[in-house]
Symmetry: D3
Subunit: 252 residues, 6 copies
């Protein structure tokens, strides 16, 4: 089975970079995937992307070494299984707040006896190889998002869910859930404390820790703390940032 590049990096003790895609377009995906990111994540939750165009984005990413991942809109086995069958090598699931939700998520990603995923990896087997079924569990990454106070309170029961590979922290929702403001790169004491709690629990239970960042500064701080994967915002923000900067430089 084709290797999962992020897992390979982790096996060497390295940190992985990741970027989100929010534009429903396979060419933007292809450009980004060719830049050397370790993971490229199609954001079907907040990005403007639905399944059908997501498939063409997975195809575009497949030319490269980057691990193709999908953030699904919700903890729903229908879409989780569909993106896996389409070849996703990692699934990030929002709003995991307790063990039951974690089991529902992980179960949708794993074949029996671990989970309840239906077999039929139509495109995945083309991407991965004919031995997909045998090695899927050890190759495909499952990320549970902890982004609420409930999630923070239940990290132990969540992180010990069999088949869960990693936690993914969304600082913006975490802040909102705690009564703060939305926005990335949160540094309020409350959010930072929650991040520390989650990170420590991940280390304790032997799962990997990933976090969403809007800037390289925040990402680097989080790497310093011990995170295993950092996401650096998404392609449309980078586009908007640079376009606005250039426009500002023109003297008209």
């Amino acid at each position: 089975m084709r290797a999962n590049h992020i897992k390979d990096l982790w096996a060497e003790g390295r940190v992985a970079t990741n970027i989100f895609l929010g534009l429903p377009d396979s060419f933007a995906a292809e450009i980004i995937a060719g830049q050397g990111w370790d993971g490229v994540t199609i954001d079907m939750q907040h990005g403007l992307i639905d399944y059908q165009v997501g498939v063409t984005m997975l195809q575009a990413i497949s030319q490269f070494e980057a691990t193709p991942m999908v953030r699904v809109p919700w903890n729903d086995p229908a879409i989780i299984m569909k993106v896996l069958d389409a070849g996703a090598y990692g699934v990030i699931c929002p709003m995991i707040n307790n063990r039951e939700e974690a089991k529902r998520f992980v179960g949708a990603c794993r074949y029996a006896p671990t989970g309840y995923r239906s077999t039929g990896p139509v495109r995945a087997a083309f991407y991965a190889g004919p031995d997909y079924h045998q090695h899927a569990a050890e190759t495909i990454l499952t990320f549970a998002m902890i982004e609420t106070q409930d999630g923070v309170d239940n990290v132990d029961e969540i992180f010990t869910t069999p088949g869960l590979d990693a936690v993914y922290i969304g600082p913006s929702d975490l802040s909102v859930s705690m009564g703060g403001l939305p926005g990335g790169d949160q540094r309020t004491p409350e959010v930072m404390a929650a991040i520390e709690t989650i990170l420590a629990a991940a280390k304790q239970h032997g799962i990997k820790a990933a976090i969403h960042a809007m800037t390289s500064e925040y990402a680097n701080e989080m790497i310093e703390k011990g995170f295993d994967l950092v996401t650096l915002s998404n392609e449309y923000r980078h586009m908007a940032t640079r376009a606005a900067q250039v426009l500002g430089e023109v003297k008209v």
Copy 2:
């Protein structure tokens, strides 16, 4: 009829900013169009964009003041008329090398008796208003691209074509046509001389002059020279530039 923002700026003696779109996606178009560019040009020539998605991009741009324009793939009345009917307020036509080609292009953009455009401005009339037919000629901009040695040699006959509003210089093709290398922001003596020739002829014949730039430096130089519109590369290059920069800053 809804005004053409670039024409309004030009009437005040100001320079207009423009950006190209190469991604086939209406959300990228919407983000860019909301940034304050004076013109936003859907690049159907080198961009990965065909007519059907181009329509949704025109719709997205229509929320803003920016002039929606299209660079057509070729000097072909079929696509020129289709993008005009879809609401383009400016057409940039590649590879105009002589008077005959200029007439073919401008004629496709204008109703009789000036041209031979077929009437049926299906979406354009929704965008522009019910008096579209009467004011289309004075509102919609026609840009002839001069990007070959032939075009440079024939600027006088091209620029005096009735109904032609502006010239658009493509420095990369100009360089290639003269035996040089491709790439934006050309500064070889040969290309600079050609640019000066074209610019002078445009001033002489009373049409506007526009040029493609990859950087704000080059754009500002061209504004200094007297250009009326500068394009600052396109959205996918800005995306790629910024994403690569951020990736480079992460310490993994």
Copy 3:
């Protein structure tokens, strides 16, 4: 934050008009949205419309003052949050039968602490402005559809759900649920009694009342009764009605 036109009308004590869209096409949406309807609702339940094309329809509607709304296929947080992130300013949710379902629906529409909506209003913030998060709750409308006998029986517990703005009555499903025939503009005593019950409860609990109509006659009757919003069928029925009429007039 950009205002919600329907809320503005309601603040003035006026009745709002609304129309449904069932064709998956942004140009039909644009034509309709330009006609002066107060609300334009993309019908993702019974219309032939999925999320991806729905986004382009929201973009087309955004050029106009009309409030862009979506009827979601089902009470599912995944799609509710996705259409809100895409810029919907109102959500109509089918088949709300009790308090628990109402809370699930409204919670998906509201950020913490009222609800559990995940933050990331990707396109919504472009449409609404940077203060989207702060004003979303007071701007975005939530409509619970009452269209079953259970729903009618539970109007009090449903209408007092915090964050619920309005009820939306579907007379056809209401009739079917009561053992009657499907079809719009129901006037059977059973359905009329249920409508009166719902309307009275809405008035009592201070939420707005909306209803689906197939004809202007029925809509006007409902306005007389005190409804705050009337939907006048959808664009494809209007198309079919007029096309059939014209065909019938031709003497071949």
Copy 4:
């Protein structure tokens, strides 16, 4: 080979009804095609429709007896052959002004020795049957649009082009070409005279005569004059007309 319904009607001396489609949507096409129109024409010239969605519209129309036709954007063999291979049973070609243009158009519609159409009727053979090649010339209709003064002046040489089945009059372009205003249902003396000239020439040379109408009144007048096919506007105008009417009836 599956019969061409319009040709069958004409063989019985009857007049055919036709409608244009301007919305890029196969469901609108399906609704219209099911209403009993004799022809349904996908308008790729002024409609917002490109080839790919046009194919799905042809598929939708194929369920019904109506003749599926396409108005192509321009007299271009590339698109003419593509829509024929996709199953169009009639092609309406804009802006035929002389014999040479007529031959170019008709030649693209006919296999050798009459024309130069390339063989490969990929979907057409599924729609029509395995004997498509043998009967294509006698089944598929070619309509040359006469909509300029030049076209009117050259009707004799145009209408005697071998393989041309019919003329299609566009009164709006005809008016514009003669210095008048655009708009359907033209009744100025100049346009009416041109219509009479075209109609008489069609009768003389044994080809059929078709005309575009915006209302049933105009269509009926034209039937009285002897036209063989009348088009009654298009689906989006019918939609807009009826929706606006209903909106006007609501008392808010």
Copy 5:
């Protein structure tokens, strides 16, 4: 109401053939549907197909006698009702493991009082006729997939669910659920025993029995056993098989 071809066959005591579609393309669907299969099933579970393109596939199939069916991604009323409104005449629902799940599935397919399907058969009524509502329950087929050990254990309570028409066996998932390997045409004693158990229960409770096969050999064996419908793999496997065979025959 238009008849359901498979139901007609069954009424005559005959066995129906079926094929799955996994490519998101209406032309592949049209080619297959024209070959004489009794049922053609759009596979939205493991196929790479989402709702929007699924609608165009249903339209393409509608030209033919074959029963258009959909395998939905999951037991979710949102998508079940959407595909029914789009004109599916049969729904195959994966992973039905007990009576509660069977009721949830069947209820989504049936109007009150049997079920809770919302009325609004937008395209279905065009396909089926105006009496759709009255005859939908007796015309539209519901298939519960039994593909886990739990499902096998609960066949009696599942098969006696009012409104359930048939069982559909997925041998690959059945095998995986029992600890075996995935893959079609399972013949292990465990799977064969389960198939016999399911088939016997179906016969006992008077519902039809359908099964997925990869080869005609397996299908014929299952027909011998008494199955009422056999699926013969899908269009992309047939494509791949034949293409690979031809490639292997070329002597390069």
Copy 6:
């Protein structure tokens, strides 16, 4: 610059296999491209494929070693340049009948001074590498289709066109052009004589010879004759053939 697999094979004196794609779907393209074909050609002439979906097909093919090629609908620089910019490594152009047409075709594929292709290889440079411009002429294949008697008569002037790499024979059109029947694998004496003439001229002028076949038998015969590339029909015919065969084997 990434190598052209077919050119590499030819450099070793080997024969290349090729297949056409007629379904507008990137997953079918991906399956086929993964089978080991030396070339995979998106058929935009007779296939039901337009540019936008063609781009996603090119992306899917790019994962594999196979040379991605496009048969364009017509000898039109607009679409030729667009598919090259999208990453096609070979262009097959229909209906080349004389030197002028050959020059128009080849010129659209080559940068100055050989041709008149506009520079802007947006996706091509991602696929090929940053040195695309310098090596494009020696890497990208140009195939002129000879499929008329005129073309046969003019093989010498066509085959000596600078920049033309190969001839591609379409036996079906060749037969029709000579007064014969359409259909692949033509063996009439007239067509065979024409094939021999073309092949001999290709050998004489040092260009490669390619031919379209429907069966491996015909392809093998042509390889025996000395052809350098054989196309083995297309993916939808293989799909249809195999599906029909399997259906025929079922005993219902």
